[in-house]
């Protein structure tokens, strides 16, 4: 097992800069998820680690070995592709052992290794089948088996679950997590699905336009996004961005918001005292208050010291089972609140909501960066 170091990695195609200097340090056994929309450079970065794309500038190291110019097969990596890329003409067993065969491993050892992996992934009975005779989930397993059998230093996953249906995706997600725990291997996983990222990662790197926006644990990314892009990308439904004016209060500062309640706009002061950010020089100016839906909930439920409550009109409710999402109108814009399902079923119209401002994120409206 080994660490993975990416130092100032740049990728250019002609004049187009796809990656603009990426720095990531991965410790041995860490699970990194590269998250971003399509075209952000995440797959390019993965292919550079794999050796399928050249590195224009910078260094990529596995352990303390620079691998920029090392052939993919000598990098001690394995990759699982989105389309699985199983060799259609070979049986499952051959698919798994192909890499070993190419490395000159004797047949006996190969067979043994295949058996071991097949047992681990519960597909011993599939070894003689052709990929075309397998279901999507089974193909996915074979693709994983092919990566596992060589016991590489670093595993690379390129959106491996995006071709599966929702139920299988959940199963395989758990399976990948379990494998990571069991093998304790270094893994890099590319996805555009923020839930996959949050559930799987030890750390997430969020990319946009070839730049890392934020690199941190799922909790850091979720609770303390560095800018509005990250805040909007992670979390479902996404964070509410509320434009508010900073005002002075007796105890400190607050953000002034117009809340529609009982059919009329009411001024509400959202207390900013729990915030680390210094807003003293912003009095009278606008800031963006970022509130996740679960930070706005029914009054009385989370009557912590930080929560403040006030009435607000409910426009629409959307039941999701465990919770109900309520659409409110603040500053003339829609704001999502997450309420325990029992409440919203009873109450339509106006209801008291509690806002936990200690969980709010403040952003500068111009730079869109977090204020701390």
């Amino acid at each position: 097992m080994a660490s993975l170091t990416i130092k100032n990695a740049v990728k250019r195609y002609g004049n187009v800069e796809v990656l603009k200097g990426v720095d990531i340090d991965l410790e041995d056994g860490e699970f990194l998820v590269l998250l971003g929309a399509s075209g952000c450079g995440k797959s390019t970065l993965l292919n550079m680690i794999a050796g399928l794309e050249s590195v224009t500038e910078g260094e990529i190291m596995i352990g303390d070995r620079v691998i920029n110019d090392v052939h993919p097969k000598d990098r001690d990596i394995a990759m699982v592709f989105q389309s699985y890329a199983l060799y259609p003409n070979m049986s499952v067993g051959k698919n798994i052992s192909f890499g070993l065969e190419m490395r000159g491993v004797p047949k006996k050892e190969r067979d043994q290794a295949v058996q071991e992996v097949a047992k681990m992934l519960q597909m011993d009975h599939l070894l003689d089948r052709k990929p075309s005779q397998l279901s999507g989930g089974q193909r996915q397993r074979v693709a994983m088996g092919r990566a596992l059998v060589r016991r590489p230093e670093v595993f690379l996953f390129d959106e491996p679950l995006s071709n599966l249906d929702a139920k299988l995706r959940l199963e395989m997600r758990t399976e990948i997590k379990r494998l990571h725990k069991r093998l304790n291997a270094t893994m890099v996983y590319v996805t555009h699905d923020q839930i996959e990222a949050l559930t799987l990662a030890d750390r997430i790197a969020i990319l946009k336009d070839g730049e890392v926006q934020q690199l941190g644990t799922p909790a850091e990314i979720y609770d303390r996004p560095v800018n509005m892009f990250v805040a909007g990308l992670v979390g479902s439904p996404p964070m509410n961005f509320i434009e508010a004016t900073v005002v002075r209060t007796d105890s400190g500062y607050a953000a002034e918001v117009m809340v529609r309640a009982a059919g009329a706009d009411q001024t509400v002061l959202l207390d900013l005292d729990a915030q680390a950010a210094d807003v003293s020089d912003r009095v009278g100016r606008k800031i963006i208050v970022g509130l996740r839906p679960e930070a706005i909930t029914q009054a009385g439920q989370k009557a912590g010291g930080d929560a403040q409550s006030f009435p607000s009109d409910i426009d629409v409710t959307e039941a999701t089972g465990a919770d109900t999402l309520c659409v409110l109108h603040w500053n003339g814009k829609e704001v999502m609140a997450r309420v325990s399902s029992g409440y919203a079923q009873i109450i339509e119209g106006t209801m008291d909501f509690a806002v936990d401002m200690s969980r709010a994120s403040l952003f500068d409206p111009e730079t869109e960066k977090r204020l701390d």
């Binding site: 794999a50 990759m79 699985y84 259609p88 003409n89 890499g99 190419m102 092919r146």
Partner: protein, 294 residues
């Protein structure tokens, strides 16, 4: 399906339409098969019968003497060897040329699609251009080339000519087929440690039979049926069967032996017919074969 039912009157008219359709189809089938029937029929008659009877009359008996004569007795120019040696000339020309052009086309198509390099599409466009170069254009430079290489008037010369000329077509076939094979297969194999030729042999070629059939049929028909290159670059004993057949028909001593001419034409056409009958359905399958599903 609609559950519309026909009234008896409508049923009648539908039946008549059907009959008319069948009649037309049969008529055209006869129309197009007639020449083939005349050729086969005439080849089985003797000269007496040809002169005495109608062109369309069935032969009195199955008389293969004209076939035998065309195969190894008929005079081609001054050499009365029949078509046999020329038949083998064509075989020894066509088989290697088909094999070489198909293999090179596969390799080129593979390199152009799966190992994309700068200018790959440009090179493909240039190769494609070769499909539009008429035979006549290359005759002179090709004659010079063969002369320099010292393989004029040999089967090897024709093998070279047909391999080179066929490359444009086979590259087109394989390139367009390989474009549909996902690149991730090659990437996966690269990471697994396979090199250029190993990937070709172990992954790409096993996926290629449909397009190989297309390429083989196309090339075989082209090369076997070629007359111009054969007539231009060979004389006498090194000629392919198409040229020999032409000469056989043109070599007349006394009476015109129509039955021998017809038999010679059928012998010449037999191998391509055979290839189409055996591999024809794979041909269509190969042409329509789209993506390879993992």
């Amino acid at each position: 399906m609609s559950d519309h039912t026909y009234s008896p009157a409508q049923g009648q008219s539908v039946l008549w339409m059907r009959l008319l359709l069948w009649a037309l189809l049969i008529l055209f089938a006869i129309w197009f098969l007639l020449p083939a029937y005349v050729v086969v029929g005439t080849s089985l008659k003797d000269l007496e019968e040809i002169r005495g009877g109608s062109l369309l009359a069935l032969p009195h008996e199955l008389n293969f003497s004209a076939w035998k004569h065309a195969w190894n007795e008929a005079c081609i120019g001054v050499r009365c060897t029949g078509l046999e040696p020329y038949f083998w000339n064509s075989v020894f020309m066509a088989l290697p040329a088909v094999f070489i052009s198909t293999l090179l086309g596969a390799l080129t198509g593979y390199a152009l699609t799966k190992f994309q390099f700068r200018g790959a599409n440009m090179i493909f466009a240039l190769i494609l251009f070769g499909c539009f170069v008429p035979f006549q254009v290359v005759i002179l430079p090709m004659a010079q080339t063969l002369g320099r290489l010292g393989i004029t008037n040999t089967v090897y010369g024709l093998i070279l000519v047909h391999s080179v000329y066929g490359l444009a077509f086979t590259t087109l076939f394989f390139r367009n087929y390989y474009v549909t094979i996902p690149d991730e297969l090659v990437r996966a194999a690269t990471i697994d440690g396979a090199g250029f030729f190993t990937i070709f042999r172990r992954i790409i070629l096993p996926l290629s039979p449909p397009i190989i059939v297309v390429s083989v049929i196309w090339q075989f028909t082209q090369i076997w049926n070629d007359f111009l290159f054969g007539a231009s670059f060979t004389t006498g004993g090194a000629q392919p069967i198409t040229v020999a057949m032409n000469n056989l028909v043109n070599t007349t001593t006394g009476v015109k032996q129509y039955n021998v001419d017809m038999a010679a034409a059928l012998i010449t056409a037999a191998p391509t017919l055979f290839v189409y009958i055996v591999a024809g359905r794979y041909f269509v399958r190969g042409l329509t074969a789209g993506s390879v599903k993992g």
